[in-house]
């Protein structure tokens, strides 16, 4: 149960809001009506995330953390830009985008997870930790869709709201990209 809680706290940690930002970008075209897609997209993210987290924590995949951090910010920017280009219409590529980009985010947790998970409980804790992450993501997405739904009901244009949110996401992800460009590129 501790590791479920840990995963949940990690995803809801406001200091690490890059995951939240990605979820905001990912769910831009979704509403409660598309609940099946919502589940698919979020689960695909968790699958990609869980897989690469395990691979990175066991050193099967080794990517330098500064490149992973840059990759994470790029996924946020690209996801928001992708939905903006498509005028926030639903895309069949959504779950695949989510799976691949979830994989990039999972790499970011690899070193942390290998530090906290003891040898004898590595895989035993892996599943509950990822269940916690999934629950946290579902919570964030439900809150987002609820905000969209309420906004619609009080007369806010959904497209306008989405455009605003996209602007914020693009701003923050651009900042992240600029801050995380590895020094060796210069």
């Amino acid at each position: 149960m501790f590791y479920v809680e840990l995963g949940l706290r990690h995803i809801l940690d406001i200091q690490g809001y890059d995951h939240m930002l990605f979820l905001i970008a990912l769910t831009l075209p979704l509403t409660f009506k598309e609940w099946k897609q919502v589940i698919w997209w979020v689960t695909a993210f968790t699958l990609g995330h869980s897989l690469t987290l395990g691979l990175a924590a066991t050193d099967i995949i080794v990517v330098e953390s500064n490149w992973v951090e840059l990759g994470i910010s790029l996924t946020i920017f690209l996801t928001a830009a992708f939905h903006l280009m498509r005028n926030f219409s639903l895309s069949k590529a959504g779950p695949y985008l989510s799976l691949v980009f979830g994989g990039v985010h999972g790499l970011g947790f690899g070193s942390y997870y290998s530090f906290i998970a003891q040898n004898d409980s590595f895989w035993w804790a892996w599943l509950p930790f990822n269940i916690g992450i999934e629950l946290g993501q579902i919570f964030i997405v439900v809150v987002l869709l609820f905000v969209y739904s309420i906004s619609q009901k009080i007369g806010v244009q959904l497209q306008m709201l989405r455009s605003l949110i996209t602007g914020v996401v693009l701003t923050l992800s651009t900042l992240m990209i600029l801050e995380r460009i590895p020094n060796e590129l210069f």
Binding site: Y3, Q15, S73, F115, Q118, S163, G167
Partner: protein
């Protein structure tokens, strides 16, 4: 097109005005505590990141000109002893366990701080009423989370000491 211009303006505005650092750091340690019936001892190990640990040790030396890395291992160990005593306290059934620092092992990416203490009660008494207070590195990083794993008679219990629980938890097996 209007929308794109609007978003671009918003983006530029945000870039100019948003100065907060966008970075996520994890501050964490892992502590194992064993009740060793054979040795009649409570022992264990605290694992933390070397850079975090160095920063905490340098803070202890703040009134001196020396830096932690310049000290010999005996002096470093005496600092470890002082710091651990101040920040790590374990009680069982209201009775404090007199844990003492017993050595340091430095790995490639971790520092291991070993500790031990006497088992002053019958083995069965360690089944109930654990109280662990662990503020290691929390003086440097308030978001520090100290994960603690209690091992007793083949059973294991994992929890953590963090800001949200005032860096303290209780448990009974």
């Amino acid at each position: 097109m209007k929308k794109l211009v609007f978003i671009l303006i918003l983006t530029c505005f945000g870039l100019a005005g948003f100065t907060t650092k966008v970075k996520h750091e994890f501050y964490v340690s892992v502590t194992d505590i064993y009740v060793d019936a054979q040795k009649a001892q409570i022992n264990g190990v605290v694992k933390c990141f070397p850079d975090d640990w160095e920063r905490a040790m340098n803070a202890l030396l703040s009134h001196q000109l020396e830096r932690y890395v310049q000290l010999d291992s005996a002096t470093q160990d005496s600092l470890h002893r002082v710091y651990l005593k101040k920040h790590f306290n374990v009680k069982v059934g209201q009775q404090p366990i007199a844990l003492t620092f017993s050595g340091t092992v430095t790995g490639p990416d971790e520092v291991y701080l070993l500790f031990e203490g006497p088992m002053e009660m019958p083995f069965e008494a360690y089944k109930k009423d654990w109280n662990v207070s662990h503020t290691l590195l929390a003086d440097i990083y308030p978001s520090q989370e100290n994960i603690v794993i209690l091992h007793y008679s083949g059973q294991k219990y994992t929890s953590s000491c963090r800001e949200g629980n005032n860096y303290e938890f209780n448990h009974s097996f």
